[in-house]
Subunit: 510 residues, 2 copies
């Protein structure tokens, strides 16, 4: 047993090295986006590439394979505690995934990703898919090649399943198809109901000019409210400004960014709640598991559930908005004095089918994701070819959202994900909403007064519930298993749909 | 010959890895001092420690030893070009230095450095050397142990020689003793001369209240003047605020910091010229040698020569100050309208023996360094013990500078260097002045109109001279050799002394 524990400790020490290198990379990436002088890019690329190589080398060291074999083959393995076995499982998974791909293919993927991303930028700028198409085809060919290898390693049914598993361990194309079919119908029902309402949001409220300096004070208030700490000795976060908001960090150093639009002040407010939701998750991971595989977040979708929970379920709730309106008036010296509570709530929650995913409201957002999922699935199974992609995109936008795409820049080229070969990523965004629906239902049972607390600007009970039920479980379970452990039920779409129906029926009085 | 070049390319690839890791560490250190949230320290220490280990492992990889043996033993080695042979020499040096120390000793040194630095802080705060003494003794014992090993590796005469060689390759205790004896007498002569002058600086000019916001505009002007670029697509630098100013960077990403004291505005102005001098050096290193050993700066002392050149020889020159005074009045809306040029020049260049090294003027500074050098030398040769250090310190301050040290916080505990075992570092500060004196003499011959240029706010000719003569030579020579290559003469003290004598005779009219 001593030698089993010995091997296990060596394995955990390797995992720590990987985590530490990755957290260092995170800071370098953050710096690249926020502080780096323009000319620093070449050096930074060298630094990031080398740290990637070192991570890869550390994970795929043959010694790691031997340690894993020894531990798993030991007669004492079955008696190790569940946390230790989960760590071994997660290490085995990353060892297999990272070792399986030939180094040459990894390098080709990285190189083609850079080339395709560049072609995407040029194509989008010129609104010309033909600039993008040949490089996207090369990227997808390489991605399929690597997905086929991953499929065999993981014993997945299809290549797309192997990719989905990277972002949402255990998720499959069949399971997502089933969930999304229900979600699509449900979202359409809510949209139809809202369409029948007489209430019309006054969007002018949202576009009032709020100077950046004033928005910065709103940001401070928002960070204080969710207790995301950026000042003094207890600070673990910081806020900076970038073109696109993001969160980067690990445990005691988790940084967020936002972007200030002077004629769209809610953009920064809700991006701070969104990124803050991500940050609270990282910070509340169990300290005793720091640097261990189980100490990481569960999945991309669960991470997204936490950001959307804070942004939408809390931040766009009537109770929170009713609390915020007078606070906004304090901070802005009465810029919204003439706005009544209900009009504010309706304007913030306006539902309107649109062309651009990142600008979509809470109801229509899922349809943007379903479109991407269906296209990815068909591309991967070769039912769809790259040259058919723009037309397929436009057809689905017409069918699901009722909007006419006028050019490929606002259509198939709006997102960057496919350029780097990140197929399988999009579903996580919508799965995050579904997980969030399940979590909300359970929180309502556990903390029935949560809306009252939020309405008084007291977010502590919500934060505590999330920390205790989700954050503290780190990477102990795959996402669907986590949902079951937290809620006692299998993942279902209905809680999310019910949440939307109840909320928007009230707001739209329909 | 093919296999020799093959081995050489492998060696250079290893050197690049080391440089890239170290440049990444630099960014993490910069972030620690400027942007990191308070709680991030534990993670950051793990990151920095791991990158140190990876650097050490990369340099000391037995493969490196075999490559070096193969290259140096190859019959074609003598015919390799001089640059390649210099790269091999520098790699051999770091391989020997890094491989020679037992891992256990390296770890003990790091651990004891942290403990001693902590004891130093507490001792300094309490003005009580007895808190510091036992930990300093342990630190010095470990340092001596490692210095003895380094002495054998390097074939140095004494242990202290082995340490000096880390910071100033090729420098010895005998050579420095000789240089510093001349410098000491010369500085005393200049001090005596100034002491005989009737002119008394009006220090009130220096302590006028200049708000931080205004000082920031002065900083912008100073950075523009020396063409240290912090904005837009050509930026390779940035300015941030820290307790103690520093420079961190490499080639295309070189960052400086400053500290604003509202009643000491020249502190930020001259710290920006000082750190800017460091930054210009890094940026102007030869691009074709980037990531190679010869592409680094020559030595600590040569680095310091560049910062002091810009801060003192240029920045505190009568010509630059005459140019700056009206600029200051523009920026500050006439805060110095009543000050005449000569009074300003005298106030900036006030000479007054003092207790604190970092506050010392250009003339007395060298004496602070000589005191530290003599004490380090005597500690290393065991002519002096740690418990005798405070008295020896105070005696030397009385003898060389004529000041009475009242407690050990302003005496022997004022600097942090010894706490981390960095004996041998102090001399570089003064050697930087001596190198600077040699360089200035040559620049005056090459660019006789330099004072006129500087007086018109045109720093380009000075920058170009430094870049061409010093920066572009990277690490091609050891420092004394560099001085000879640049000036055609052996390193001498007189040019620095002559510079001081001429400058201060004029300013003090003596």
């Amino acid at each position: 047993m001593a030698s089993l524990q010995d091997s296990y400790q060596k394995l955990i020490a390797t995992a720590k090295q990987v985590t530490v290198i990755q957290s260092a990379s995170g800071i370098l990436l953050w710096d690249l986006e926020t502080k780096m002088p323009a000319r620093g890019l070449e050096q930074r690329s060298e630094q990031l590439a080398l740290l990637d190589v070192l991570t890869h080398k550390t994970i795929t060291d043959p010694k790691v394979g031997r340690l894993l074999d020894g531990i798993e083959g030991d007669h004492g393995f079955a008696d190790m505690d569940a946390l230790q076995r989960r760590n071994v499982h997660l290490m085995r998974k990353s060892y297999e995934e990272e070792s399986g791909l030939p180094q040459k293919l990894v390098e080709e993927l990285a190189k083609q990703a850079a080339i395709t991303t560049d072609a995407w930028k040029r194509g989008k700028m010129a609104k010309d898919f033909s600039i993008y198409q040949p490089e996207l085809e090369k990227m997808l060919a390489l991605r399929k090649e690597s997905a086929a290898i991953l499929r065999d390693i993981k014993g997945a049914r299809t290549e797309y399943d192997a990719l989905l598993d990277i972002y949402e361990p255990g998720m499959t194309v069949d399971r997502i198809s089933e969930l999304f079919a229900t979600m699509r119908d449900g979202l359409r029902d809510v949209m139809d109901k809202i369409g029948s309402s007489d209430r019309r949001p006054d969007l002018g409220i949202m576009s009032r000019h709020v100077p950046t300096a004033v928005q910065r004070r709103i940001s401070e208030a928002a960070m204080d409210l969710i207790d995301y700490q950026v000042r003094g000795r207890t600070a673990y976060g910081r806020l900076d400004e970038t073109e696109h908001p993001f969160t980067i960090g690990y445990y005691d150093d988790v940084r967020i960014t936002t972007h200030y639009y002077e004629n769209r002040f809610t953009s920064s407010l809700f991006s701070i709640l969104h990124e803050g939701g991500h940050a609270l998750y990282e910070e509340a991971l169990p300290r005793e598991w720091k640097y261990q595989p189980i100490g990481g977040p569960c999945s991309y979708g669960v991470h997204e559930s936490q950001s959307r929970f804070m942004e939408n379920m809390i931040g766009r709730s009537p109770e929170f908005l009713a609390y915020m309106l007078p606070r906004l008036n304090e901070i802005t010296n009465g810029m919204f004095k003439d706005v009544n509570k209900d009009d504010f709530i309706l304007a913030v929650n306006a539902v309107e089918p649109s062309k651009i995913r990142v600008e979509a409201d809470e109801v229509t957002y899922g349809l943007h994701i379903i479109i991407r999922f269906e296209l990815e699935r068909d591309i991967m199974s070769e039912r769809l070819s790259v040259d058919e992609l723009p037309q397929a995109w436009n057809d689905k936008y017409r069918e699901y959202l009722g909007v006419e795409i006028e050019n490929d820049a606002e259509g198939v080229m709006q997102d960057t994900h496919w350029s780097s070969g990140s197929l399988g990523y999009f579903p996580s965004y919508a799965l995050g909403n579904l997980y969030g629906g399940m979590f909300l239902q359970k929180m309502e049972a556990d903390v029935p007064q949560w809306r009252e607390y939020v309405g008084n600007g007291n977010m502590a009970p919500v934060r505590a519930w999330l920390a205790e039920n989700i954050h503290s479980r780190g990477s102990l379970y795959d996402p669907e298993e986590l949902v079951r452990v937290v809620t006692g039920k299998a993942l279902q779409v209905e809680p999310f749909l019910n949440y939307l129906d109840t909320k928007f029926s009230e707001i739209y009085d329909c």
